[in-house]
């Protein structure tokens, strides 16, 4: 069953990553930035996927903390790993765009800093789970709640504080030709997130089952 699901993941990922450049290539050139603006089509979706993952992680952690459901803990750890993966994509594609648009790789402005901090919070979450010893899932769930509290702040920071980062108004005011590829990438990234999360949750479930068998063998 797992292998069938993985074939689905691979097929979807392949379709998405093969079609995306074609769509992106079709998209019109942006007048001032030109070709490099096309990084936007996977920079924005990667951050969107990261925010969704961070929210899912925070909510799943809250459910785990207050209701004690094991499955939500597995969803939380899967989402936290994906936050780090999508965040890495965003953090690498961003500077590549900035090098051309701003002339520097990195700017210490409100939004970039907060996004980096958010990414680091989820790395800290994974570190705590890895090295915290037994019982660290609960502690990590507390950390994830604090991480989630930072998400709306990152979103607002760009509109509230003065910054060089394009504001969140950019997306609703896009020309129609740019909107299609953006939505395609956005849906693709979210689909990838869901599928990767399912696979990761499955891994965690199997691990728990293995541990259970070992414990029973010990008794």
């Amino acid at each position: 069953m797992m292998h069938r699901m993985f074939s689905v993941v691979i097929v979807v990922a392949t379709i998405f990553f093969v079609c995306a450049p074609v769509f992106i290539a079709w998209a019109p050139y942006e007048s001032t930035m030109g070709l490099v603006q096309k990084i936007f089509y996977f920079h924005v979706p990667s951050w969107a996927a990261m925010f969704v993952a961070a929210f899912v992680c925070g909510i799943a952690s809250a459910v785990f903390l207050f209701r004690g459901r094991l499955i939500s803990d597995r969803i939380a750890v899967a989402s936290a790993e994906l936050v780090v993966v999508f965040g890495l994509i965003g953090l690498v594609s961003g500077p590549l765009w900035a090098r051309k648009a701003w002339g520097v790789w990195w700017q210490w402005d409100a939004r970039l800093t907060m996004a980096l901090v958010l990414w680091m919070i989820f790395i800290a979450y994974l570190l705590l789970r890895e090295y915290g010893g037994p019982g660290s899932e609960k502690l990590a769930a507390g950390v994830a709640l604090f991480g989630m509290a930072n998400v709306p702040f990152v979103y607002w920071s760009v509109n509230v504080w003065r910054t060089v980062h394009p504001t969140t108004n950019v997306v609703p005011t896009l020309v129609p030709g740019m909107r299609g590829p953006l939505w395609w990438s956005l849906v693709g990234f979210l689909l990838l997130y869901v599928l990767a999360m399912m696979a990761r949750v499955r891994l965690e479930t199997q691990r728990a089952a293995l541990e259970q068998i070992y414990r029973e063998l010990d008794d």
Binding site: L65, I121, L139, G142
Partner: protein
Amino acid sequence: MRRFFTVALLIMRKDLRVETRSRELFLTTLFFSVSTVLVFAFGFVRDGRPVENAVAGILWIAIAFAGTLALGRTFERERYHDVLRALLLAPVDRPAIYVGKLLGILALLAAVEVVIVPLVALLFQAPLFRQPILTFLLLSLGTLGFSAVGTLFGAMLVRARSRDVLLPVLLYPITIPVIIAGVRGIAVLLQPEVDVAMARAWIGMLVFFDVVFITLSLWTFEPVMTE
């Protein structure tokens, strides 16, 4: 509600009594933050003058480092004879224990700041006391936000392995918003012309994060501390 604060004050008094008898935490933390300031003085003073805006950063880094050290030591003390577990077994509200520990940490950090802030002002010729109320608000709100998260994490890491490393690893990224607001706010106050509206905006941000952090901490303290 009254019982809640009685318990909290009782726990704070316990911590302060332990501290006034040994003075271990106060003296080590104070000396540590003074040495931090010294190290930064070597890094950020050129031709006898500190680099512009460096003073606000130096002050906050000294406070944050000292806070981390104090938090680690306070909860290490609670761990020795399983005091924290005994506290948690007591038939009182768990959040009251959190508030009590937070008040204890705040009192300790306030004592350290009473020494370190005038010292920084003196050593770097920084006009920190031109707007005493704004300075006080920025420092106290920033310290509150930092210790609110720090107390929660310090308490929950008592059970964890490699807690000495994990405390700063978790604490710094999460309290960065508070530190940014504190540093920027103090930097505004150090300008030749103080921009009061700007300072007030940073204070507003500190209030926002303090409220969010304290609410979340009170909320999560109980489930996180339940084994």
